[in-house]
């Protein structure tokens, strides 16, 4: 992916640029809002990571101008302002996702990948498949290797989300936000319990596990390569 990072904190920026490059992405970095806007308007980026508070032009204005100019590059806001209201304001200004500081790098990476994929036009799907696991979105049924799997409604949503992002790391926060629409992390690791239950249903009795735990990050659904 070609990524643009607009972040004024030099230490954080250096760390993010390094991390993103090591993950195999091309990264340009701007230290303030005006430079960031110039770069964003000039280059064809797959996604931009924009800090909310920037010198010379704040993040919201950068994205506003970008959208006014007809540029639809997906934007992920970074901010120390992490409450729901701030998120809403960021998303209204044209941001596509919002990540509160401090955050885990894996969380940022996972969200960027989802963001870019979401923006690449995909045909309306009625069936999702990963390996021999199939999900019929019309009849709301799941089968693996032809065997019917019984899923609770929420388990179905969870599996659907995992399958839509198959091959990518999905964090617990992303699952809470997208499957449960909760913008907070419960004290107990409820997601892990839900995942182990899902795993018991789709992976138990099968030789190849599809649902993988990614240490320190979250989960990933993928067929054995």
């Amino acid at each position: 992916m070609r990524l643009l990072l607009i972040e004024d904190d030099a230490t954080a920026a250096a760390y993010l640029v390094k991390g993103l490059r090591e993950s195999g992405h091309l990264v340009d970095h701007a230290g303030d809002g005006e430079d960031g806007l110039t770069l964003a308007l000039g280059g064809a980026y797959d996604a931009a990571v924009v800090d909310r508070m920037l010198p010379r032009m704040d993040g919201l204005s950068v994205v506003n101008r970008l959208r006014d100019a007809g540029n639809q590059t997906p934007v992920l806001f970074l901010s120390a302002l992490g409450e729901v209201d701030d998120k809403v304001r960021g998303l209204k200004a044209g941001g596509d996702d919002y990540l509160a500081k401090p955050f885990a790098f894996t969380e940022l990476l996972a969200r960027l990948e989802v963001l870019v994929r979401r923006h690449s036009p995909a045909a309306v799907q009625t069936r999702l498949a990963v390996g021999d696991l199939e999900l019929d979105l019309l009849s709301r049924t799941a089968t693996r290797n032809g065997q019917r799997i019984d899923l609770q409604p929420r388990e179905f949503l969870l599996l659907e989300y995992m399958m839509r992002h198959a091959g990518h790391v999905v964090t617990r926060t992303m699952l809470l936000e997208n499957v449960w629409e909760y913008h907070f992390d419960p004290q107990t690791n409820v997601i892990d319990v839900h995942m182990s239950r899902l795993r018991a249903k789709i992976d138990k009795n099968f030789e190849q596990p599809l649902l993988h735990t990614v240490r320190g990050a979250g989960y990933s659904l993928r067929a054995a390569s």
Binding site: E83, V84, W180, Y182, F184, Q187, T188, R197
Partner: protein
Amino acid sequence: MRLLDLFRTATFRLALAYVLLFAASVIFLLGFIYWRTAGFMTRQVDETIAAEVQGLSEQYRRRGLLGLRQVVIERAAASSGSSLILLTAPDGRSLGGNLARWPANAIVDEGGWIGFTFTRGGEQGLARGRAIPLQGGLYRLLVARDISDLALIEGTLRNTLLYALGLTALFGVIGGGLIARTVLGRLNQINQTSEEIMQGDLSRRIPIMGSGDELDELAKNLNAMLGQIEGLMTGMREVADNIAHDLRTPLNRLRNRLEGAMLARDTPDDTKLALENAIEEADGLIATFNSLLLIAEAESGAHRNTMEEVDLRSIARDVVDLYEPVAEERGIALTLSAPEAVRVRGNPSLVARAAANLVDNALKYTPTGGKVGVQIDPGYLRNDGPSIIVRDSGPGIPAPDRARVLDRFVRLERSRNTPGSGLGLSLVAAVARMHGAALELADNQPGLAARLVFPKALPIPQAAQ
């Protein structure tokens, strides 16, 4: 207090204005009395003279100059002394009357009245009267009355009234000054106390006189406000102390882990594991900070404009749905009893979070084989507001500790070994306060019954939809 300061005070100005208004009323009142008494006497004199003039004119018309002279001489002889009369010939000679000659110092006013002084029996007198020209002004008739006594009475009256005015003004000034001093003294007290408080002694209070007047009321209100501020300040200080203390422990653990990873001659895998543990520790710290921030935000009312209509039943369903696998894993029966939709005004995210915290807590402290029940109560059966009730069969919270556990970082001794930040119930309490709701903790016999009671039947604005 310096004189200049006295002039600057509002109370003194008020007293001064009062004195001035008072003096003006007294001047008007006394002026009226003067006009009614002295004026009345003068008018009586004037009427007597006018009647006399009319009578003499009648005589003159009927009996001519000689006849008039006869009457004048008769009247002068019969005069008691206060009535003055004089008829003069063209050469100024007296033809009759009780005045020696025509007065030289007569002053004629606009109404044709003349005032003059005269000498009789060696005494000088003051007179007022009218002059009537006869035969084309050759002869002149003077009809007047001695008003010396009247002038004396008038003078005395005037002096008395002026003294009265002076005394009234003096009393007004003294009274106003006293009132100003008393009120100022009490305001001064309030000011002094405020200054002492500003210098850092928050325990000072304004003395109350017990008179129950507005100043006492002010002092009471100020004292109540000071009490509230002091309470908040103490709370803040405790919170700051708690934060400093309770964050030091995890920070220390984090530091130890990192240090251990650096010093130990472990395999790269072990180092990685140590670092992962350190990150976990840091994540815990971040979560604690987020909770603290959220509590602070809820308490400052930052979310007050994000209120919307929320259905407690659907919130409870989602929360139970989220925790159901956790309960199952721990062998706890998690049930939901919510027969109908119950709407309240609230911030959906925060209400959900509060409900999740209550369920989370209940599951955490309930032993395997126990029960956790979530109930949505519309409230109208017990004539109360709608509520979310979470009951568990755990150890419960002893009655004396129930208020304390709502404070930040308070964890009861026996829960030291369960994971948690001690902020869960504080957050629920903060969310409750923000919604005007109450968090009640009661004995579930056994276990804890936590009840989040929203305000009763808030009118839901239909126009907004």
